[in-house]
Assembly symmetry: C2
Homo-oligomer: 202 residues x 2
Amino acid sequence: MSDMTSQAAAPRSPGRPRSSRADEAIIEATLDLLAEGAKIDTLSIEAIASRAGVGKATIYRRWPGKDALLRDALAILKGTPPTPIGRSVREDLVLLLGAVGRNTDPRSEKIMSCLLPEVNRNQDRYELYQGVVEPRRARVREVLERGVRNGELRTDLDIELALALLTGPMLIQRVLRWHPELDDDVLAERVVDGVLEGIRAR
Amino acid sequence: MSDMTSQAAAPRSPGRPRSSRADEAIIEATLDLLAEGAKIDTLSIEAIASRAGVGKATIYRRWPGKDALLRDALAILKGTPPTPIGRSVREDLVLLLGAVGRNTDPRSEKIMSCLLPEVNRNQDRYELYQGVVEPRRARVREVLERGVRNGELRTDLDIELALALLTGPMLIQRVLRWHPELDDDVLAERVVDGVLEGIRAR
């Protein structure tokens, strides 16, 4: 029995070279259904299989259940964060923060805006959200740790706090347009410089 | 004809001494309906009037339409931000930021989590959101301006950026629990000190 449909010919996602074309069709079907308004709670493996043109058994061969499939689908939806260059902490922070909340996949805004209101009310949704966020936090963390080691950043730096100081302003602007007058084009640079230098008089 | 019901005996909202008891019943009915899942788009003046036990004319005597009523209802839902003490910028920032995303009204989390996903997709919702946010931004802005004037903060401070640097980390933690390991109890102090001092080595 062939599981494949024409949808499986979708472009290969970067960073997942092991994927078969059926896997890709399953991931794409999951993301399409969510972007079209399917609720995470009620989305069924059956509906995903039907949309992908595969049997349910094909999905269960690769993923133990819906949560694992959703985790992989969201990871592919959000893509991989940029790779730091390594010349200066400032440059790498601007690069990484410039990508915060920037959705390259058009389905992302719709899917994330359905997920986010749930993260504080549902532990499964929270873990799904953290699965998206933690790899991004980890990449910024590496840059900050390098900065502490090489003397660019304070030796007593609270790295976990610094992650929130850098990411918070980017996220509220990109997701909520929190301040109508902050220009998005130079926001990452301004946030990085603001957090690097601080606001106290010297 | 009497417009009043027993619901109008709800406690008087602080900061709105001009409200009649009918006004309060109308505001409470609006907030109750939203908290119970009514959609902002489809919530009708008729449904609000019915829930408040008043006639539609009573609502239109006080509010020109639903948007104006929603603005007032959200302002009352979110309450007034704390009043700065005036001794030091640090102390006042900790006070104001400690209140960010802290909802005293139990209906607030539900109502805001329905509003927030819409703010980037619907201009009316965005203006409603800004009506909640701007009075809070204004209060922090006054403290920052005082700090620039009295020499506590850098004379070249970008105040609008600083508002985002301070508020962003608080909001992502309080609304999304963005970083699972940041302790909420001391978060406002740590954010304020982090933004005051900066992270660059000196």
